[in-house]
């Protein structure tokens, strides 16, 4: 009797402790949700608020619909919307036309030089887009494009075959620059694809190309569609290509309008108009985010893409090896080699010139030698702060969110997951404009305008969706038994998280940490929107140089950046070679 009552007490105490733990977890999840709601919600609210105001941030003015009236009563807005849609659809198409075969070749076949190609692809993603765009002008401009000139000479053409200053030209350059990112997003799906269907097709005598079109593409379609939607949302927000190629030819897309409104060439900034244009972008973003979530959920239903129990075999390319290599190196040429060579050439000239014997005699290292005087130390320090703080904050928040979403039974965990995904629906430029407006209007409560930390916040918000997708997928692969064992042994929830979960997901987290750090290092749109003299980073310096016409200096800095990225990526690959490859977690 005594023993029974003792065990009852123990059970009751155990229940109480479990309830207490559960309440603690709920409380923690509530706090985390609230924090994310504020972090993500406030800049979005600012965008909406500024769309309903005229005048400058900080001025007390009544709310009005005047900005919406100005924007939506203007037929030009609809032309811009059409341009934006065409640009986004075409650039995504270009990206996928290259990415899907590339992923298949590298993930499913025995193509040689795989590791080298991975490194080159990684470097490709790190070459700032606007530096590549400048290189493309030198190649494909209708007047001076080297490629155009060569083709005209070879085929005796009366007019240049390519016009970069067009919507297709813009989409081509943008699409090419999307490929490495899309590659790493699709790689996981192809890597874990069940090979049995492929093998059945080959056994039945079906050719490689037909198998690729009839088997590989259909079974990875949800993953391809999800990447498609993701890229489409990104294409709506990108700014560099529309600014460098679009604006000179008066081809305006939504992101150019928003940037022009906050940084006009004539007159003063009009945040209200930026907000009204941003509202369309926000709407697009939300619709496509919804589509993306649905596609990803649909993808999970495909049992052939589980990654469990399969050891995919590589397909022997045999004589197809050379065409496959040619395709991969053709892509790498237009993505990495040619832009790099153009930058290297430009960086060694006293002023921008096309290749000639005259120009060759003028080569100099002066722009490299003068770089410290031109750039100074501050941009490097600020960039290092970004590269360390942004991935650390992003991954910290992502691990915590994923732990609640994947590992707990908190009733609102779905809401928290959605909340962490919302930033992906808000284009970066809009998030930055919202933060700038917040900093300018409410300095007392948000005294970060003009500091590097406002860019840290913008970047963290921007990549939290990516971070949580990664940590969700990594955490789901770690079996609960290990944590349960830890809890049975009496470890507290934070201790289990710290001692058991984190070490198990460390490789994935570290991969994403590096990845986000490098993305933050090359990002320019948000940094430019938020930039002041105190928070200047390398990417904004490059942009300023370009604006001042210091192209050889831009090129020299670009070459330095690429070499720096190569060293970082190479080192990271060596360090992480035993625990995973870059992008594997995504």
């Amino acid at each position: 009797m005594k023993a029974e009552s003792h065990s009852e007490v123990l059970v009751a105490a155990g229940d109480g402790l479990a309830r207490l733990k559960s309440q603690g977890v709920s409380l923690f999840a509530s706090g985390l949700s609230l924090f994310l709601m504020v972090l993500i919600g406030v800049p979005v609210v600012m965008v909406i608020l500024m769309s309903l105001r005229t005048g400058f941030p900080g001025e007390t003015v009544p709310l009005t619909l005047a900005n919406y009236l100005d924007v939506y009563a203007n037929p030009r807005t609809y032309q811009v919307l059409l341009n934006t849609l065409f640009f986004a659809v075409t650039s995504v198409s270009v990206a996928l036309l290259i990415t899907v075969p590339l992923v298949w070749i590298l993930m499913r076949t025995d193509i040689p030089l795989k590791k080298t190609i991975y490194v080159l692809l990684t470097i490709g993603i790190l070459i700032p887009v606007f530096l590549r765009t400048i290189a493309w002008i030198i190649l494909l401009s209708p007047r001076i494009g080297l490629l155009n000139k060569w083709l005209q000479q070879i085929f005796d053409l009366a007019a240049p075959p390519f016009n970069l200053y067009s919507l297709p030209g813009m989409a081509f350059v943008q699409g090419i620059s999307f490929v490495p990112g899309a590659f790493f997003m699709l790689a996981a799906a192809y890597r874990s694809m069940d090979p049995s269907l492929e093998e059945a097709a080959y056994t039945s005598g079906v050719g490689k190309l037909r198998t690729f079109l009839k088997i590989n593409i259909p079974i990875t379609w949800p993953a391809i569609a999800a990447v498609m939607v993701y890229l489409f949302m990104t294409a709506l927000a990108v700014f560099e290509v529309p600014a460098i190629i679009g604006l000179p030819a008066r081809i305006i897309v939504l992101s150019s309008l928003i940037f022009q409104s906050t940084s006009p060439n004539t007159g003063l900034p009009d945040y209200g108009m930026a907000g009204a244009y941003g509202a369309i972008m926000l709407l697009f973003g939300l619709v496509f985010a919804f589509l993306y979530v649905r596609l990803v959920k649909q993808g999970k239903k495909y049992t052939v893409i589980t990654g469990r129990g399969y050891r995919p075999r590589e397909i022997a390319l045999r004589s197809w090896k050379w065409p496959a290599l040619a395709f991969v190196f053709f892509y790498l040429s237009i993505e990495v080699f040619i832009p790099f060579l153009v930058l290297l050439w430009t960086s060694l000239l006293p002023y921008l010139q096309l290749p000639s014997a005259d120009a060759l005699s003028l080569l100099t290292f002066k722009h490299y030698l003068e770089m410290p005087a031109h750039v100074g130390v501050k941009p490097f320090i600020n960039t290092l702060i970004l590269m360390f703080a942004v991935p650390t904050l992003t991954m910290l928040l992502s691990v915590l969110v994923s732990w609640v979403v994947i590992r707990t039974q908190v009733s609102f965990r779905g809401l928290l997951d959605t909340l962490a995904f919302v930033p992906h629906a808000v284009p970066g430029i809009l998030m930055a404009v919202g933060l700038a407006y917040l900093g300018l209007s409410y300095r007392d409560v948000f005294p970060l305008y003009g500091t590097i930390f406002i860019i840290v916040i913008a970047h963290t918000i921007n990549w939290i969706a990516y971070g949580t997708r990664t940590t969700n997928s990594v955490m789901i692969q770690v079996h609960r038994e290990l944590e349960e064992a830890g809890r049975v042994a009496g470890a507290s929830v934070p201790r289990v998280l710290w001692k058991i979960v984190l070490p198990l997901i460390a490789a994935g987290v570290l991969n994403s940490w590096v990845w986000i750090g490098l993305l933050s290092y090359r990002e320019v749109t948000m940094a430019l929107t938020l930039y002041t003299r105190n928070n200047v980073v390398i990417s904004t310096v490059v942009w300023q140089f370009w604006g001042s016409g210091w192209v050889p200096q831009v090129a020299a800095l670009g070459v330095i950046l690429i070499l720096f990225a190569t060293i970082v990526v190479g080192t990271v690959r060596v360090v992480l070679s035993r625990i995973g490859e870059i992008g594997e977690a995504s």
Binding site: G55, F56, P57, G58, E59, R76, I137, I138, S141, P142, R143, I144, Y165, L247, P248, A249, R250, I252, L257, Q260, S261, S263, P264, N265, T266, G267, L268, P269, D270, M273, P350, Y351, L352, Q353, L354, L362, A373, H374, G376, L440, S441, R443, Y449, G450, T532, R533, N534, W543, Q544, W546, G547, S548, G549, W550, V551
Partner: protein, 345 residues
């Protein structure tokens, strides 16, 4: 007791006398120097053509002249219009400006003047020539720019270069061969000056109809160098000066008249964190040492000072200057023309 009272009165009188003598001998420049010593630093915003070396030399000469050790932080302009917008935006939200002084064009300073965003000072009391003081003691004119059509002489033969502004409307420049920079205030100055609004607006519309290549001035210089654009409707001599330093072949179509001459003004911003250094530096820019260094690094000098390069350049030419009373119209037309060309919404 009476003696002690008398002594006190004499003592007080001596103190007051001493103080007034001191007041009489301390000149405004001494006050500025004393204030500058305490501030120790200046945030200087200026054209990128000055370069970090030029800024360093200016700071050195300034410190030598006034016996100071002020640290000059040079903030090179990437986009003057955007940065003027930032100053206005920061002021509207009650925040101090990022810079103490700005060297920008007269039309950019005009935008600040309308909104009373200068910290004024009696520059005349420091010996500055009243002819170069503008915007109600807000700024000093330090140099003249010149804007004309420009081209790459290695690509476009001089005989094909325009001889008159109207030659820019020749259909041979269609198809992106003609460029227009975002400095559309050059046309607004013609409108406020000799051409009048109607003629200039008509010219601008015809120019826009030719679908020119649009870009910022620095970028346009590169497009001219590459040969992507054959003629830029306007280009400032600062770009030409910078190109010449690199051995690049950009030149003015110098038969074209009238010559547009924006002026570089320097002024202290309202709410500037270091106003004393700011005012002192503003004055320094009008001195012989300041002018020489400015010309050395930017290629610009004052057209009002006989013997300077700018003075020599304008001889025999019709030049369009902008006066304070034209600032409002130039501002309005600049925005209008920006929209006509497609630079802004």
């Amino acid at each position: 007791m009476a003696n002690s009272k008398l002594l006190s009165v004499f003592g007080l009188a001596a103190v007051l006398l001493g103080a007034s003598v001191e007041q009489a001998t301390a000149t405004p420049v001494d006050d500025l120097i004393a204030g500058a010593k305490k501030e120790g630093v200046i945030e200087f915003y200026g054209p990128s053509t000055l370069g970090p070396e030029g800024a360093k030399e200016l700071a050195g000469a300034f410190n030598k002249k006034y016996g100071l050790n002020i640290k000059l932080n040079f903030n090179a302009s990437g986009n003057m219009t955007r940065d003027i917008g930032k100053v206005v935006g920061l002021s509207a939200s009650g925040q101090p400006p990022e810079w103490d002084i700005m060297v920008v064009t007269d039309s950019h300073h005009g935008s600040l003047w309308f909104r009373k965003l200068h910290k004024t000072f009696d520059y005349k009391s420091l010996g500055v020539d009243p002819k170069i003081i503008e915007y109600d003691n807000g700024v000093i004119s330090i140099a003249n720019q010149f804007a004309l059509p420009a081209y790459n002489k290695k690509i476009l033969p001089a005989k094909d270069a325009p001889k008159r502004w109207e030659d820019l409307l020749d259909p041979k420049w269609k198809g992106g061969k003609l460029g227009v920079t975002s400095s559309v205030h050059h046309f607004a100055r013609l409108a406020a000056g000799p051409w009048g609004e109607e003629k200039t607006t008509d010219f601008v519309k015809k120019l826009a109809a030719m679908q020119p290549t649009l870009s910022r001035a620095g970028e346009m210089a590169q497009r001219l160098l590459l040969g992507e654009v054959l003629i830029s409707a306007t280009m400032q001599d600062s770009q030409l000066h910078e190109s010449a330093q690199q051995g690049a072949p950009l030149v003015f179509a110098d038969a074209v008249q009238p010559v547009v001459s924006p002026e570089y003004h320097v002024g202290v911003l309202k709410g500037a964190p270091h106003p004393n250094v700011g005012h002192l530096f503003t004055v320094f820019m009008s001195t012989k040492e300041g002018q020489q260094l400015w010309e050395k690094h930017t290629g610009h000098s004052s057209a009002y000072v006989p013997g300077t390069k700018a003075y020599q350049f304008i001889q025999g030419k019709t030049v369009v200057y902008m006066k304070q009373d034209q600032a409002q119209l130039v501002d309005k037309l600049t925005r209008q023309y920006g929209k006509v060309f497609g630079f802004d919404n």
